[in-house]
C-alpha cells in the first residue's frame, strides 16, 4: 500500500498527467462532471459528480462511421479509433460497479461493441472510496461496498491528511510504480467507510417482480413522472442509444446518441404502432429493466445505488421508494 499527502495531490495529478491523460471530477460552470485535469480545474472530491463517468467510455454522442455518396454509389469508413491510454481518477465504487454492467452489455452475448471496447481497454480506473456516503446513496443495499471497488485498477481512500492507495491490477501496479516518486510506502490495510443510511431490500427482488408486470401498481407509480430523460441520462448503468445520420451534401456521419425509454419515440415503429404508448409502460420498463430484466439477462445488478436519479428527478420519483412500494404488492 502507498500513501499520498493531501497537500501533494495536485502535484501527483500533474505528474501523472504528464505521462498519461488524466480525467478528474470537477465542478465546471455550475455542474460537476469528469474532465481532463488541469492545474486550474476545480476538483470535486467531497461528493460524486452529477454527470456520471460512463461518459468517458460511452459518450452521449459518438461518431460510428463516415460515408460518401455520389449518385448511386456509396462508401463507408469506420471512425472507431483506439484512444491513447488514459486514467480516470476519483471514480466512486458505485460508478466502477456500473462498468461491470456496461461490460456485460457491450462486450458479451455474441457481439462486441468496438467503440466501447477500445475506450474500456485503454482506461485505467483509480477509484476513490467514500468514507461517508451521501444521504441519497444506497449502493450497499446492492452489495457494493462504498469504500471498495474490486474492479478498479487502483483503490484509493482518504485517511486523515492523506490518501491511501492500493493497486488491484497489473496496470494499477505499473502506474503506481511509475509514480513512486510521489508516494510513500505504507503498512496496514485500507480503512473501511461508513454504511449508507438509505436502504432498500434487495434479496429476492427479481423473483418478487417477475409476476408483477400486469399489476395495477404501475398505474400509480407512473402518475407523477413527467417522462423527461433526466434519470436515464444521469444513470451510470443506462446504456440505451439511438443511431442516426448527419448528412451534409454528398457526405455524412453515422453517429449514436443516448436515448431514453422515457420518450414515446423510443419504441415507436415506422407503421405507427407503439408497444409502450403511455407513461405507465415507459416507467414500468425503466424500473423493471433495472430490477428484473437486467438481473435475469446478465445475473448482474441493473442499479448501483449512486442516487443521482433521486437527487435530480424534478418530481422526486425515487427508485428506493418505488422498490418499497413494489415490495408491498402481494
Amino acid at each position: 500500500m502507498k500513501s499520498l499527502s493531501k497537500a501533494n495531490l495536485s502535484q501527483f495529478l500533474e505528474t501523472m498527467n504528464s505521462k498519461v491523460r488524466v480525467y478528474v471530477p470537477v465542478e465546471q460552470d455550475g455542474v460537476s462532471r469528469f474532465a481532463p485535469w488541469s492545474q486550474d480545474c476545480q476538483l470535486v472530491l467531497d461528493r460524486n459528480t452529477i454527470n456520471p463517468p460512463k461518459r468517458l467510455f460511452f459518450p452521449q454522442t459518438e461518431e460510428l462511421y463516415e460515408y460518401q455518396v455520389d449518385k448511386q454509389d456509396a462508401s463507408v469508413k469506420s471512425l472507431a479509433v483506439k484512444p491513447e491510454p488514459f486514467v480516470v481518477f476519483g471514480m466512486r465504487p458505485c460508478d466502477v460497479q456500473s462498468l461491470k454492467l456496461l461490460d456485460d452489455v457491450f462486450l458479451t452475448k455474441g457481439y462486441e461493441d468496438i467503440y466501447y471496447k477500445q475506450k474500456r481497454e485503454q482506461g485505467i480506473v483509480i477509484s476513490l472510496g467514500c468514507p461517508e456516503p451521501e444521504e441519497t446513496c444506497f449502493c450497499d443495499s446492492w452489495g457494493v461496498n462504498p469504500a471498495r471497488a474490486p474492479l478498479a485498477d487502483i483503490m484509493m481512500i482518504e485517511s486523515e491528511d492523506k490518501y491511501l492507495l492500493e493497486a488491484q491490477t497489473e496496470a494499477g501496479e505499473k502506474l503506481l510504480a511509475d509514480l513512486s516518486g510521489q508516494l510513500t510506502d505504507q503498512s496496514g490495510e485500507l480503512p473501511e467507510g461508513k454504511p449508507c443510511s438509505l436502504k432498500v431490500k434487495n434479496e429476492g427482488l427479481m423473483e418478487h417482480l417477475q409476476p408483477k408486470f400486469e399489476d395495477p401498481v404501475w398505474a400509480e407509480i407512473c402518475r407523477k413522472c413527467i417522462n423527461c430523460g433526466t434519470c436515464t441520462y444521469l444513470c451510470p448503468t443506462c446504456y440505451c442509444f439511438d443511431i442516426l445520420n448527419r448528412t451534409r451534401g454528398k457526405q455524412g456521419v453515422k453517429y449514436r446518441c443516448y436515448d431514453s425509454c422515457m420518450y414515446p419515440e423510443y419504441t415507436l415503429m415506422a407503421g405507427g404502432h407503439n408497444p409502450r404508448p403511455t407513461k405507465k409502460e415507459r416507467v414500468r420498463q425503466r424500473f423493471l429493466h433495472k430490477l428484473q430484466y437486467i438481473p435475469e439477462r446478465y445475473q448482474e445488478l441493473g442499479c448501483v445505488g449512486c442516487g443521482r436519479c433521486i437527487k435530480k428527478c424534478p418530481v422526486n420519483l425515487d427508485i428506493t421508494r418505488v422498490i418499497n412500494q413494489l415490495w408491498e404488492v402481494e
Partner: protein, 295 residues
C-alpha cells in the same frame, strides 16, 4: 402539522366523499425533509398523505394534462404559479375549467431544496427561497374555487428582471460565450419542456425525429433547442421557473424567458401571462400602432 395542512386534508376529504371530484392532486412528503412531491388521491382515507409545507415547489398544473379526457372533475391545489399554469392551459384550450376544482393556497415562497439539503435538517430554516420564488410577482392564486388561508403580500422579493440587467450589458461576443458555456452543459433530457405548463403541444417539434433538430448533443443543437423553446413560449411563459428548477445541469433558463418578457413589455406594453385566460396574447394579436423597427 400546520393548520393549513389540516385544512387541505379536510377539503380534499369532503370533495372525495361527496364525489364532487374523482381525484385530488396535491403534494405529499417525499424521500427527505426537503422533498415534497406530487400525489394523486382518489380515496377519502388517503387524504392523510397530503401536506402543505415550504417545499411544495413542484407546479402541479402540467400534471392535469394526463386527466383532461377522464370523466368527472379533478381537484388541484394551486399556488400562485400553479394557478397561472392552469390559466395557461385554459387559454391554450388544453383543459376545461369546468372539469377542474381549484383549491387556492397563498404561497409564502418555497425553500431552495438543494440549499436546504446542504444545510441539513437542523439548519434548513436558514435556506433561501427557490430562485423562482424570489422573483415571484403573484404568490396568491389568480384563479380558484376556494381559498385556504389569508392572502400573502408580495414581500422581500427581487426585481424579476434584475438578473438579466447584467446579461444585457454584455457585448454580443460575451453573450455568445456565456450562453455557449451554459448550453454546452445541456444533456437534452427535456425536463425543462416536460415540466413547463406552456409546453403543452400535442406533438413537440423536438419529438418529430430529426426533422427540426439533430439528436447529437452539441453546442449548436443545444442552443437551437433552448432558443426555440424560449420563443415557442414567448408571451405565454407564466414565469413559474419550473424549467430552471427542473434542469439537472443548472442552466439559468429563466433568464431567456425573462429577457423575452421584458422585451415584450417594452414593445407592446406591460403584460404578465396566465393572469387572464380570456385576454389577448401580446404576440397573438396585431395592432396598427405596434412597433415595427425592423421594417
Amino acid at each position: 402539522m400546520n393548520a393549513q395542512t389540516a385544512k387541505i386534508r379536510e377539503i380534499a376529504k369532503e370533495l372525495l366523499e361527496k364525489q364532487e371530484v374523482q381525484m385530488v392532486i396535491g403534494w405529499e412528503k417525499g424521500t427527505f425533509f426537503y422533498n415534497s412531491t406530487p400525489v394523486f388521491i382518489t380515496k377519502p382515507e388517503d387524504v392523510e398523505r397530503l401536506i402543505w409545507d415550504e417545499y411544495c415547489a413542484v407546479n402541479l398544473a402540467k400534471l392535469l394534462m394526463d386527466y383532461r379526457h377522464v370523466e368527472g372533475k379533478v381537484a388541484l391545489f394551486v399556488k400562485g404559479c400553479d394557478a397561472r399554469g392552469i390559466n395557461r392551459l385554459i387559454q391554450d384550450k388544453v383543459i376545461d375549467r369546468g372539469k377542474t376544482y381549484l383549491i387556492g393556497l397563498p404561497c409564502p415562497g418555497m425553500k431552495d431544496a438543494g440549499k436546504a439539503a446542504e444545510l441539513g435538517k437542523d439548519k434548513a430554516g436558514e435556506a433561501p427561497l427557490e430562485a423562482k420564488c424570489l422573483r415571484c410577482t403573484h404568490p396568491n392564486p389568480v384563479v380558484y374555487d376556494v381559498l385556504v388561508g389569508e392572502e400573502v403580500p408580495v414581500t422581500g422579493k427581487e426585481d424579476r428582471f434584475a438578473r438579466i440587467a447584467d446579461l444585457e450589458k454584455m457585448s454580443p461576443d460575451e453573450k455568445f460565450e456565456y450562453w455557449s458555456k451554459q448550453y454546452d452543459k445541456c444533456i437534452r433530457c427535456y425536463a425543462c419542456r416536460n415540466v413547463c405548463p406552456a409546453c403543452n403541444c400535442r406533438e413537440c417539434v423536438f419529438d418529430q425525429g430529426q426533422t427540426w433538430l439533430e439528436r447529437a448533443v452539441e453546442r449548436g443543437g443545444n442552443q437551437f433547442y433552448g432558443l426555440v423553446r424560449a420563443f415557442h413560449v414567448a408571451g405565454r411563459c407564466i414565469e413559474c421557473g419550473e424549467c430552471e428548477r427542473a434542469c439537472p445541469m443548472d442552466i439559468p433558463i429563466m433568464d431567456l424567458h425573462h429577457k423575452i418578457a421584458k422585451d415584450i413589455n417594452e414593445l407592446f406594453g406591460d403584460y404578465e401571462a396566465g393572469l387572464d385566460p380570456e385576454g389577448p396574447l401580446p404576440l397573438g394579436m396585431y395592432k396598427t400602432e405596434d412597433p415595427e423597427e425592423f421594417m
